[in-house]
């Protein structure tokens, strides 16, 4: 709304697995939420950096003290190293949109950051602290609300933002959502990964794999319901390459989040005023990385059939829906608003 060369609005979706940033200068980036420091002087010489962020960190993980500093969508507690890692992550995101922290002509950064719908106050305070020195003013909003705002889906809509750490729900009823309108579940992408790893380990005890491989498989082939094709992966087993059919394991792991997600969706819908329930049921929007699970909208619609039916759609750009929404909020807020929110 009130933008000048001296200010830059940004929306940040700080995710457990991936973080994205959308800026008013047109830049948009997504990175893996990993930060790593070289373990020793040899590693430091090889990687040629004092700290690595995102894919860089992941690719060089054997030489790094690797951190995934976000847990259930907020900074992991009790570890200064993770707080430091989040700051590095934020600094990196800001640098990607062309902001040099030490530049004299650096514009004032006004940031809207998405957090889980039911993040602790204390977690929000920690995040605000982490933003100090990186942005000039900060607003924290719930992730599904940011998505709703960006889509202008502010009335009679249910947003379900399924990320890695949490699944966040928010019913939009033409007002800023209260606690009653929102829910957060820990059943999301990470819990699918854990379940998938457990099932593969049980069914293929000789197979060797890492959690990073599990995540890659899930991102390529996750589905609920009927598979479109067999899910075949190649892994070392007792040192030899072996092809595994993990179709059933993939389905079971992905479907493990359905009961809590459906139950929460239905619970929230039944709390909507009766005259609007049908409208909301027909306007369920799914976002977040895990919204890309094939067959998910159909499974949710099936659950809605118990209530008389409904329509579920996936946002066009699940990776950036949160940060774009944050950017929209940042742009719409006035300068006087931002002054009140300066760090």
């Amino acid at each position: 709304m009130e933008e000048s060369n001296e200010t830059l609005s940004v929306g940040i979706d700080l995710g457990t697995s991936r973080s994205s940033i959308s800026a008013s200068n047109g830049e948009r980036h997504v990175i893996d939420s990993y930060v790593g420091w070289p373990v020793d002087i040899v590693a430091r010489k090889l990687v040629k950096k004092s700290v690595l962020v995102g894919r860089d960190a992941l690719d060089n993980r054997s030489m790094l003290e690797l951190r995934r500093p976000l847990e259930r969508g907020v900074i992991k507690e009790g570890s200064e190293k993770d707080e430091e890692a989040v700051q590095e992550l934020l600094r990196h995101l800001i640098s990607l949109i062309g902001i040099k922290q030490k530049s004299k002509n650096r514009p004032k950064v006004r940031a809207v950051v998405g957090v889980p719908a039911e993040a602790f106050r204390i977690s929000k305070q920690r995040l605000r602290r982490a933003m100090d020195g990186i942005a000039d003013s900060v607003m924290l909003v719930s992730e599904p609300f940011a998505v709703a705002y960006g889509l202008e889906a502010l009335l009679h809509t249910l947003i379900i933002d399924i990320g890695a750490g949490t699944a966040d729900f928010c019913v939009m009823q033409g007002r800023y959502p209260t606690e009653q309108d929102q829910r957060t579940l820990p059943n999301a992408g990470d819990s699918i990964d854990e379940q998938l790893a457990k099932l593969i380990r049980e069914h293929h005890p000789d197979a060797q794999f890492s959690i990073h491989m599990i995540r890659e498989w899930k991102e390529k082939w996750s589905f609920v319901g009927e598979p479109k094709a067999q899910v075949l992966v190649t892994v070392p087993a007792k040192g030899k390459a072996a092809e595994l059919d993990i179709t059933n394991e993939m389905r079971t792991a992905c479907e493990s989040i359905l009961p809590p997600v459906c139950e929460t969706m239905i619970d929230l819908l039944t709390r909507v005023e009766p005259e609007y329930q049908e409208k909301v049921r027909n306007n369920v929007i799914v976002s977040g990385g895990s919204s890309l699970i094939a067959g998910l909208p159909d499974a949710l619609e099936k659950a809605l059939s118990e209530l008389g039916g409904g329509r579920v759609t996936v946002v066009k750009d699940p990776i950036f829906a949160g940060s774009d929404g944050g950017l929209a909020i940042a742009r719409d807020a006035t300068s006087s608003d931002w002054e009140k929110l300066s760090l």
């Binding site: 009790g78 202008e152 009335l155």
Partner: protein, 340 residues
């Protein structure tokens, strides 16, 4: 979708609320501290049946016991310093005459703990206690419960939670959930709020009568959103003391409280062990298995709040709860093996 003008107006209005909420976040609103919960029933209405109910239970009658004779004082507080008994306490002749249910003879009835229900107190619109700095009981209890579940999932126990997110859940539904799932043990996690604020209490409750006004007040407060009618509540009160599970609840409470205190005292020497107490909380009355309610700390004391907002401390609480439940189960299973 509404016409464009309307959307813009809505956005503007919502944006004002977002900004206001964030400004409040920055300045950390001072909470409405001791106002623990919203009333579903007015307090006087609760008092009319809760206090007579407790009084009724405190009167010795045939068929309805006043409970354990070893009660050291009127508050029902017992020391947890003595070692845990490995065998059930034998009821005195008086107890038998008064119709007190005999404790289960574990050697005769093989028992095992398989399914544990964890109940994070409050949730959703029921915040529970709120500290001056804005930390609410519902957040802390859920976090500890999720940590406890993670620890228990690595053990032979099957773990179920009454809530896994910030949802409003009536006490009656928690009870029904535990009973329908035929749990072996029920552990409800709470954080207290009490005056004077210097107190840094740890206490564990199991079902039973109490004439301590402070406990009656706490039970009134915790039972507020029970969803039970007065008739339901009276029925629960009448039934409970014919129930042999109270003895097991007592043992569980003692084991868990001792483990918690021993563990937390190492990092929190100011923690006051207020011991094991009896109280008529709805979740303890209605559940059909050994059940306890643990008040792990108090949000009225800011130093406790500082500890509670530290993940390591909450992990320590979860681990101590796990160890307590595990020790109780081991004791029970050991006795069962001896008898088999």
């Amino acid at each position: 979708m509404a016409p464009m003008e309307k959307v813009e107006q809505t956005k503007l209005r919502i944006l004002r609320e977002v900004v206001r909420d964030n400004i409040e976040g920055v300045h950390r609103i001072k909470a409405k501290a001791p106002a623990r919960r919203n009333f579903f029933f007015p307090l006087w209405l609760w008092a009319t049946f809760l206090i007579p109910g407790v009084a009724y239970l405190s009167v010795p009658t045939h068929g309805i016991s006043t409970g354990n004779h070893s009660l050291p004082n009127s508050a029902g507080v017992e020391s947890t310093a003595r070692p845990l008994p490995s065998t059930p306490e034998q009821p005195s002749e008086d107890d038998v005459l008064r119709g007190m249910p005999r404790p289960l003879n574990r050697a005769v009835v093989p028992l095992a703990i398989k399914r544990v229900i964890i109940d994070p107190g409050h949730g959703g619109i029921q915040h529970g206690a709120i500290s001056d700095s804005g930390v609410s009981e519902k957040e802390i209890t859920l976090d500890i419960a999720l940590r406890l579940r993670r620890l228990m999932e690595k053990s032979p126990f099957e773990v179920l939670m009454t809530r896994q997110s910030d949802q409003t859940l009536l006490l009656g539904k928690r009870v029904a959930f535990a009973n329908e799932n035929r749990a072996d043990v029920f552990v409800s996690i709470h954080v207290n709020w009490m005056e004077p604020r210097e107190i840094r209490p740890l206490e564990t409750y199991y079902v039973g009568p109490s004439d301590d006004p402070a406990i009656v007040k706490l039970a009134t407060s915790e039972n507020r959103d029970s969803g039970y009618s007065m008739a339901d509540y009276r029925r629960l009160l009448e039934k409970t003391y014919l129930d042999a599970r109270r003895h097991e609840s007592h043992l569980l409470a003692k084991t868990v409280n001792t483990t918690l205190f021993q563990s937390l005292n190492t990092v929190n020497p100011e923690l006051e062990n207020r011991g094991v107490k009896m109280a008529p909380f709805v979740v303890l009355l209605g559940t059909q298995m050994p059940a306890i309610l643990v008040e792990v700390s108090a949000l009225s004391n800011e130093e406790e709040v500082n500890l509670l907002t530290n993940g390591d401390y909450r992990e320590k609480i979860a681990l101590a709860l796990y160890n307590g439940i595990h020790a109780y189960a081991k004791n029970l299973n050991g006795a069962a093996r001896k008898g088999s």
